[in-house]
């Protein structure tokens, strides 16, 4: 035990004197988690709280285009900036730059007349189908309205563009439905439709309640913090590869290793010491990043991290993730011939494993083959286990089941390390 203790003391001393290693293990991940959460939180707020500025160029002088602009305003997603209707495409593009707008809409000159014509045609068809006498003299062909034109900044994400398109389609349908209803009412009653009735018919739509599904029955709304803190904690824990694999290689290539091999102590004691030391480092990293989420994020207007009620599960997952990260780093260190190899391969492999593991893009958004490949990444099982706990309120049984594949991958790394050490006659 004294040999192991002396090794741990030695490893801690060397670690504490490696300022670059410490900054890579602590400062970089802390910056990363803050920056990414801030960015994703702004995207979240952009879609939920902030408004997208949209330039509207209304070339129509009728009442329906004004109703459309009012409806777009009421959606709550847009801040409408109206420009003169005589502007051409270039002037509209300039207007987007001037108003810092990502979007612009042009309403065509015949918007009102086309919608009115379509409404009359629909009304006549409806009356005929009811067996009532329609105004044959005014019978119009059922044709679509002239399309609106949506200009957009190419940097706007496709998902946002689809949302905007959906919102505008919805606004158009409201205007068209209202006009059809009014025309039909007038054809039947020969008087204007009462405002109250119109409101009741058009505004009484069914609402959509959004409910996050959890395993423990609790309702916790997911936010950027709940997604990012576990994800970047995993990334930070695996990024110890930069220090740990380098330390293993340094010991191998430096003279100290020659002497270690002649001592009456197995090198496995040294590796066990590194595992214990760096496992503690990963747990400390998790403690630091979770503490940031809990207490520091609210100070910078980010949602605070909600810790799961299953704290034992949280500790269990964190230890499993940390041990897997340590095992991977030692495995790379044993097989690498130089520190450059270990650092280069280590850093790139962690980024790739993060990407395919679902830390950067959710696995459900990946194509089929990549979904299968993602299960090979230990980081996939890490994030699944954390999300189960943080977002779905997983119980202890769920936690154990979720970390089983991770434990399997960890054993595989340990086995590879053993083979590497045996082949190099180090143990």
């Amino acid at each position: 035990m004294f040999k192991l203790w002396a090794s741990i003391v030695k490893d801690v001393r060397i670690l504490l004197r490696d300022r670059v290693g410490i900054s890579l293990m602590f400062i970089m991940p802390v910056i990363l988690v803050i920056v990414v959460t801030l960015i994703q939180n702004s995207t979240f707020q952009l879609m939920n709280k902030n408004k997208l500025t949209v330039v509207v160029c209304n070339k129509d002088t009728g009442k329906l285009s004004k109703q459309l602009v009012t409806t777009i305003n009421k959606i709550g997603m847009f801040k409408v900036v109206q420009v003169d209707g005589s502007q051409n495409a270039q002037q509209i593009a300039d207007g987007m730059h001037t108003n810092d707008a990502m979007l612009a809409i042009t309403i065509p000159p015949d918007f009102t007349s086309k919608i009115e014509t379509k409404a009359k045609a629909s009304s006549n068809k409806a009356l005929k189908s009811f067996g009532l006498q329609a105004d044959s003299a005014k019978e119009e062909k059922l044709t679509g309205a002239t399309p609106l034109t949506l200009y957009y900044n190419p940097s706007i994400p496709e998902s946002i563009r689809f949302s905007v398109n959906g919102a505008l389609t919805s606004a158009l349908q409201i205007v068209e439905s209202r006009e059809t209803l009014r025309t039909l009412y007038y054809a039947i009653n020969e008087k204007e439709m009462p405002q109250q009735l119109e409101n009741e018919m058009l505004n009484g739509k069914a609402q959509i309640n959004q409910v996050p599904v959890s395993k423990d029955g609790s309702i916790k709304a997911p936010n950027a913090t709940q997604h990012n803190v576990p994800a970047w904690t995993i990334f930070a824990m695996f990024f110890i590869i930069m220090s740990l694999s380098g330390s293993v290689v340094r010991e191998k290539v430096s003279g100290s290793f020659i002497r270690l091999k002649t001592l009456p102590t197995n090198f496995a004691v040294g590796l066990l010491s590194k595992q214990i030391t760096y496992l503690c480092v990963t747990l400390f990293q998790a403690l630091v990043i979770f503490s940031l989420g809990l207490w520091f994020f609210p100070f910078i207007n980010l949602p605070a991290l909600n810790l799961p009620s299953n704290i034992f599960g949280l500790i269990l997952i964190t230890v499993a993730v940390g041990y897997c990260a340590v095992s991977y780093a030692i495995c790379v260190g044993v097989f690498a011939h130089t520190q450059e190899q270990a650092n280069g391969f280590g850093a790139v492999s962690i980024v790739i494993l993060s990407a395919i593991g679902g830390l950067m893009v959710p696995v459900f958004a990946m194509p089929g083959a990549l979904k299968t490949i993602s299960t090979l990444s230990p980081l996939h099982w890490c994030i699944q286990a954390y999300y189960g706990l943080f977002l779905e309120g997983a119980g202890l049984k769920d936690v154990v089941i979720s970390i089983l594949p991770l434990i399997g991958i960890t054993f595989a790394f340990q086995g590879l390390t053993f083979i590497g050490l045996k082949r190099k006659k180090l143990i």
Binding site: F2, K3, S7, K10, G255, I258, R259, L263, P264, T265
Partner: protein, 251 residues
């Protein structure tokens, strides 16, 4: 003739080759070094001195034959025999980020010493080797001579019965070389067998009593240094060395 019971090193019928026969090859080598000797192993570059030392310390494993240190076979799974010897490699074999005392604490523990033994030996060695004033400073800022002394201190912290020294004074000034050689003689007087290799033949002359000249994986001559000089009618080890190994360049 050396009695079997007093042998520090006993090599019998040693066979060894590197993968692909890329280096020196030993085939049926025999060597006996008595306990308490100051034994010098000399030869030109690539002759096989370091390979032989690595085989004796277990860093390399022999293909055939056996190597025994004080009657214990080396190269078995048990590392108990490793307690018997100390090794001072040519390269600096310690942690540059740590101080001398921290290096001694770690290596002392791995040699199987307890806290008290480590503390006592560390203090003693650092004083003898003139490193007390820098005990707690990181080694990486030390001069080459100071690093050589630390390299030596770590190799002897557990009072080994046999000490292997691979060019222990390379690159140091005259003062440090004298200090190291004096200390090695002192260790030998206390009973430690010294097995030493170096290209500093004048230094070796002052240290070694018994020598072996190695070339191309074979022992060319071995025996008492004074007797060999007399036998070949040479004034010094360098002349004897050139006589027995030739003047051609070696790789």
């Amino acid at each position: 003739m050396v009695a079997m019971s007093s042998l520090a090193v006993h090599i019998e019928n040693l066979g060894f080759h590197y993968p692909g026969n890329s280096g020196v090859t030993y085939d049926g080598l025999n060597l006996k070094i008595a306990e308490g000797e100051r034994f010098g192993l000399f030869g030109p570059n690539g002759a096989g001195k370091t390979t032989l030392m690595n085989l004796m310390t277990g860093l390399l494993v022999a293909d055939t034959g056996s190597i025994q240190l004080l009657g214990h076979k080396i190269g078995t799974k048990s590392k108990a025999v490793n307690k018997l010897f100390g090794f001072v490699p040519q390269d600096f074999s310690f942690y540059q980020e740590l101080s001398p005392i921290e290096n001694l604490e770690f290596f002392g523990a791995w040699y199987g010493l307890n806290r008290r033994q480590i503390a006592e030996r560390s203090k003693e060695l650092l004083e003898i080797l003139g490193l007390s004033h820098v005990s707690y400073k990181p080694v990486q800022n030390f001069s080459g001579g100071m690093k050589r002394r630390i390299n030596l201190a770590i190799g002897v912290i557990h009072n080994p019965k046999i000490l292997f020294l691979d060019e222990p004074t390379v690159g140091v000034d005259v003062q440090t070389r004298h200090a190291i050689i004096d200390y090695l003689k002192q260790l030998n007087k206390q009973g430690t067998t010294l097995i030493y290799t170096s290209h500093q033949l004048s230094e070796a002359e002052g240290l070694c009593e018994q020598i072996a000249l190695v070339d191309n994986g074979k022992i060319v001559r071995e025996g008492n240094l004074d007797k060999l000089l007399e036998e070949y009618d040479h004034q010094n080890l360098e002349d004897l060395f050139l006589n027995l190994t030739g003047k051609d360049y070696r790789n």
